[in-house]
Symmetry: C2
């Protein structure tokens, strides 16, 4: 998405939709949230779930989600360091969204990564008359 994260909402009623999605649109956020639904995870545990997410990216996304109050970051004063991430109460309220996304994806995304079902252009070349 862009620049201004969930800014002003003078465009009701679609805006609450935009606001909600604005919180989870980072490239890894929805995945992170999804896995945190199952319980607390440490930094590198999350990283393993989101392979090919660089530590830099993961850190950024986690910080943003923390700022948005979606997750909780708990630092233990140990060596080597231990940091645990978990969903906040607010974050947990997003479960219906995450589940809806998951259900839709499971039902509609083939292994191709493209939605199932034909592209209308291929099926009906006259559509565009």
């Amino acid at each position: 998405m862009a620049k201004v994260r969930h800014s002003r909402f003078d465009c009701a009623p679609g805006c609450s939709v935009e606001a909600a999605i604005g919180l989870i649109d980072g490239k890894w956020k929805s995945i992170i949230m999804w896995h945190l639904l199952s319980g607390t995870l440490r930094f590198n545990e999350i990283r393993r779930h989101a392979s090919n997410c660089t530590p830099r990216m993961l850190a950024r996304q986690l910080r943003e989600m923390e700022e948005d109050g979606l997750i909780i970051r708990k630092v233990y004063a140990e060596v080597p360091p231990r940091v645990e991430y978990s969903l906040s109460d607010l974050g947990r309220t997003m479960e219906p969204i995450l589940r809806a996304l998951k259900d839709w994806g499971d039902a509609n995304i083939g292994l191709s990564g493209k939605p199932k079902g034909h592209d209308p252009r291929e099926a009906d070349p006259l559509r565009n008359i």
Copy 2:
């Protein structure tokens, strides 16, 4: 989001989540979908719903959604031109997602544009020991 739109899914099981959100993460897509739930709309009608979306951006997002099979674009050979956008069957299957987003937003976003509920850092400055 980024570069590769719903690419490969070697990271199950979070990937269907990512795939689903990848289809609606454009700055205006979820809003467009939301309004199309109520019925067919013309280009400039959508534009009015998404004030301060430039025609360039609106056109781009609509094209992408069309390519993804979420919406249908119907062109009438009239002058001045008339083009109608509507949800495809596939697009309509996203209603649960959109509704979940809307419900969450209505329940949790104040007029500030920030999620309701306190930032943990303000409430508990010792959290980060």
